[in-house]
């Protein structure tokens, strides 16, 4: 309580803003309140969802949640393993997410909330002090202490195999993790880092596990955490079975007695199983969602999730037409994104810039994108092509991921659209493995791909701000082919900027640069759909692309 008091009384304007620098929409009021261990009562200030953001994806429960029952959820991808640190497939998180917690967590709208840390302070720009919640127990009954946190955070920087070092992790800026006392941990940073809260809240790489766990058990197939469910068994390629953690630190939760995740890659099979009640819910495509709409036993949930689609170039300074900015601008002008939305997604998608709609208040709204950045203008495009010396167009190969088929469908639509300005596009559809290799090696001119969730807005604009490192270095020939000095400067600032207002301006400007120069052509963001039995309550389409709704979902046998 002392900590909370200190926190709530000593919040200066600077701290107030620093808190707001939290991530992915963690906005001022909510972070401040969160830091005090209280719940925000109103929508976070500054989080101004545009018209594109749908309302609650499932009707709020009017009746009191009931405890008990078993829920079976179908996953369309095998989790592959359950390693807590350094796993790089999203489906890994699907398998393990119910087992683990981190120091903080995002709520449904990506506001940062206390989790294993009930409060935190930042005495200076480079220090984070975490006050752990007392009495939280791991699934084996031992209490969570600062030692466990230190062990976990340290290991996350160099995850044991098959974990892989994730570049986004603030490891580069984290100097040390120190145990202050049994319930207090201190992070000392080399430089100010506004991405810390987002990293922890995302929870994908930041689980807290018992000290020494990696030496005691095979964390590939087992695990011990503090999450709402305890792992019963994991059968690779088949299922993950969980049972209720009676000692969960959130009183009364979870509601479900048992949670079974069943791997069913075939959507038709999953839908048949859903209709018959063999499973209680699964992800579905927009088409399937429409087909299921009239089934009285099934409810369709719709929501945005982080999956912005984009067409990537390699710009290597080798004289190819798209090395010229006008050509890329022309291509963007000639692409009718609304047609992509209508033809590929049957209307179930929205415009996106580099940062997808729904990512807190960091994205550029669809209306503004349509009015200012994505004006469909074939004549203007032709003029730009002529100015660049390519009035007669050129040929380009567009590689696309074959499954899900939407990437190839986008490519086909774009192919027809670019014909109008004389560009002959050859579409080559590739399985994800070879496509990923090509993408990583930069052995393509143009490709149809997408992005997933990021812990921080900088994760979506990284290649524009760091064109000389990582994959961007390959795509842009270490900046020789494309770079923008202003974007680099702004990026350097925003990765250390703790002032939320300034940071928003920097991130916004980098997006504007990307939407003017189009090193990649960002297009649309599809909606995600879940189909659930009507007995399942309080589930939602998770923006992070995980299934956090299952942590609090409950079953109403009466439907």
């Amino acid at each position: 309580m002392d900590n909370q008091k200190q926190n709530s009384t000593l919040v200066t304007r600077r701290e107030f803003l620093r808190g707001a620098a939290a991530v992915g929409g963690a906005a001022v009021a909510s972070v401040m309140l969160a830091a005090c261990g209280a719940q925000p009562t109103t929508a976070p200030a500054g989080n101004t969802p545009g018209a594109v953001i749908p309302g609650p994806t499932s009707a709020p429960a009017v009746i009191k949640p009931k405890s008990g029952g078993k829920l079976t959820w179908a996953l369309n991808n095998d989790p592959v393993n359950l390693i807590p640190f350094g796993a790089i497939s999203t489906s890994n998180q699907w398998g393990k997410e119910f087992m683990y917690d981190s120091l903080v967590e995002w709520d449904k709208d990506l506001n940062v909330k206390p989790a294993l840390a009930e409060s935190w302070t930042t005495p200076d720009d480079k220090t984070w002090v975490w006050n752990l919640r007392k009495g939280v127990k791991f699934h084996d009954g031992t209490e969570v202490t600062a030692e466990d946190v230190k062990y976990s955070i340290d290991l996350q920087r160099t995850p044991p195999p098959p974990g892989i070092v994730i570049a986004q992790y603030p490891a580069a800026t984290l100097a040390s993790v120190d145990v202050v006392d049994k319930y207090t941990v201190k992070f000392t940073m080399k430089s100010a880092d506004p991405t810390v809260l987002g990293y922890l809240a995302w929870a994908r790489y930041s689980a807290i596990i018992p000290k020494g766990a990696y030496d005691k058990m095979n964390l590939v197939t087992t695990g011990i955490g503090t999450g709402p469910f305890k792992l019963v068994e994991y059968v690779a390629n088949d299922r993950v079975v969980y049972t209720r953690n009676k000692d969960f630190w959130k009183p009364g939760l979870p509601y479900l007695d048992d949670l079974v995740l069943k791997v069913l890659p075939d959507e038709n099979s999953a839908v048949a199983a859903l209709r018959s009640g063999a499973i209680d819910g699964c992800r579905v495509t927009a088409d399937t969602a429409r087909n299921l709409k009239n089934d009285p036993n099934i409810v369709i949930l719709k929501g945005l999730f982080s999956a912005p689609r984009q067409l990537q170039f390699t710009i290597k300074g080798d004289g190819k037409p798209w090395n010229k900015k006008q050509v890329r601008q022309a291509m963007s002008k000639a692409i009718n994104r609304q047609e992509i939305i209508d033809k590929v997604y049957a209307g179930e998608a929205v415009l996106t810039g580099p940062i997808p709609p729904g990512y807190g208040d960091w994205f550029i709204k669809a209306e503004e994108l349509a009015a200012s950045f994505y004006k469909y203008d074939v004549d203007g495009a032709k003029k730009l092509m002529a100015d660049a010396g390519f009035a007669n167009g050129f040929e380009i190969t567009l590689y696309a991921i074959s499954q899900p088929v939407e990437y190839t469908q986008i490519a086909e639509v774009v192919k027809e659209q670019l014909k109008k300005i004389g560009i002959e596009v050859k579409v080559v559809s590739e399985e994800i493995g070879p496509f990923a290799k090509r993408n990583g090696d930069g052995t393509f001119d143009f490709c149809s791909t997408g992005r997933g969730m990021r812990h921080d807005p900088t994760g979506y604009i990284n290649e524009y701000g760091r064109p000389t490192t990582g994959s961007a270095a390959i795509w842009f020939n270490k900046g020789e082919g494309w770079k923008n000095d202003e974007a680099i400067k702004l990026y350097d600032q925003c990765v250390v900027e703790l002032d939320s207002v300034k940071r928003h301006q920097q991130v916004r400007r980098i997006q504007e640069i990307a939407l003017d120069e189009f090193p990649h052509i960002t297009t649309v963001q599809p909606y995600g759909f879940h189909a659930i039995r009507k007995t399942v309550k309080d589930m939602f389409v998770d923006f992070t692309d995980f299934h956090r709704g299952l942590r609090t979902a409950w079953l109403d046998p009466a439907g």
Binding site: P161, V165, P434, G470
Partner: protein
């Protein structure tokens, strides 16, 4: 006979060695590797991190070195661990094998139960209505791909009866009835094509046998038709059917890849398929080699069955 079997068994060793080399080379000839498959298009994973991961799998060694390492370890009884799960492959194989074997076994049993009597009846009552419908049914059965049938079964049972087989595998030793109920539709979907092939084969070979002199003799000496057909003709007519079952064993194991995926059964086929998609080389190598071994052994068993069915066949 035992010498022959021994020779065939010994021949398995060089066959498997050659197979192992081909499989090893082929999985590496697929574009992209495990690291590409794992990382996907995530630019936050640096090329250095990818290289480190490749090194941890030993993928940065020359292919001959990798091959020798694998063979050496395999000869010492270590078939290796999955790249993705780091679990021993033998453990996963042992867990998934019963499912696939049961599926294949049930599919064969179901196909024989339906196809052989129908084929015999069709031959005996040649050009009758029964023959016509059996042949038409056979053609239709051949024309339907099993994955389509499987999807239809699920669609129909889920819409009409609000029922599909349980999605979590029930081992037969825990609940035999539950297991058989669960496996009925997948096995049926897998068996339909086989049924059609066997029915046509049984009919054709039965017709062939019924034209033989010894059948005429049997009839001439006044044997009842049932005895002629079932005692004298059927045993001989069965040989080509056995061959077909042997040959189809391969396609059964292949077909089970899709069927397992559709019904969510964690069998060998699915294990192999996910290994291929994930570029999990050790899994693909060991599973493919294992399936090759099964294939060889089944062929041997078929040959031995011939000798049992037809005393004229002698192996030396």
């Amino acid at each position: 006979m035992s010498k022959y079997i021994l020779r065939r068994l010994i021949l398995i060793i060089p066959t498997l060695l050659v197979m192992s080399f081909i499989i090893f080379w082929m999985v590496r000839a697929m574009p992209a590797d495990i690291v590409d498959a794992l990382v996907g298009v995530d630019p936050s994973i640096t090329p250095e991190a990818k290289a480190a991961l490749r090194h941890s799998f030993g993928l940065d060694d020359p292919i001959p070195v990798q091959y020798l390492r694998w063979v050496t370890e395999a000869l010492q009884g270590d078939l290796g661990k999955s790249f993705r799960t780091r679990e021993p492959i033998t453990k996963s194989l042992v867990a998934s094998l019963p499912i696939t074997l049961e599926l294949a076994f049930l599919a064969i049993v179901m196909s024989v139960i339906v196809a052989v009597p129908l084929g015999v009846l069709s031959a005996v009552k040649r050009n009758s209505n029964v023959d016509f419908w059996a042949r038409a049914g056979g053609l239709i059965g051949l024309a339907f791909p099993n994955f389509w049938l499987a999807t239809m079964f699920l669609l129909i049972t889920s819409l009409a009866f609000h029922w599909v087989p349980p999605v979590i595998w029930i081992p037969p030793d825990k609940d035999l009835v539950g297991n058989l109920i669960q496996m009925f539709l997948p096995a049926l979907a897998l068996s339909v094509q086989l049924m059609a092939v066997e029915m046509r084969m049984a009919r054709a070979s039965m017709l062939e046998v019924l034209r033989q002199d010894y059948i005429r003799t049997a009839r001439a000496k006044g044997l009842r038709e049932g005895v002629v057909v079932f005692k004298h003709a059927l045993k001989n007519a069965f040989i080509p059917v056995i061959t077909v079952i042997g040959i189809q064993m391969g396609s059964l194991l292949g077909g089970s890849v899709i069927i397992e995926q559709i019904f969510g059964l964690p069998g060998v086929g699915w294990f192999l398929l996910s290994g291929i998609f994930g570029r999990d080389y050790p899994v693909v190598q060991v599973t493919a080699l294992f399936l090759a071994t099964v294939f060889i052994v089944v062929n041997l068993l078929v040959d031995i069955t011939y000798a049992y069915l037809d005393p004229r066949i002698k192996y030396s």
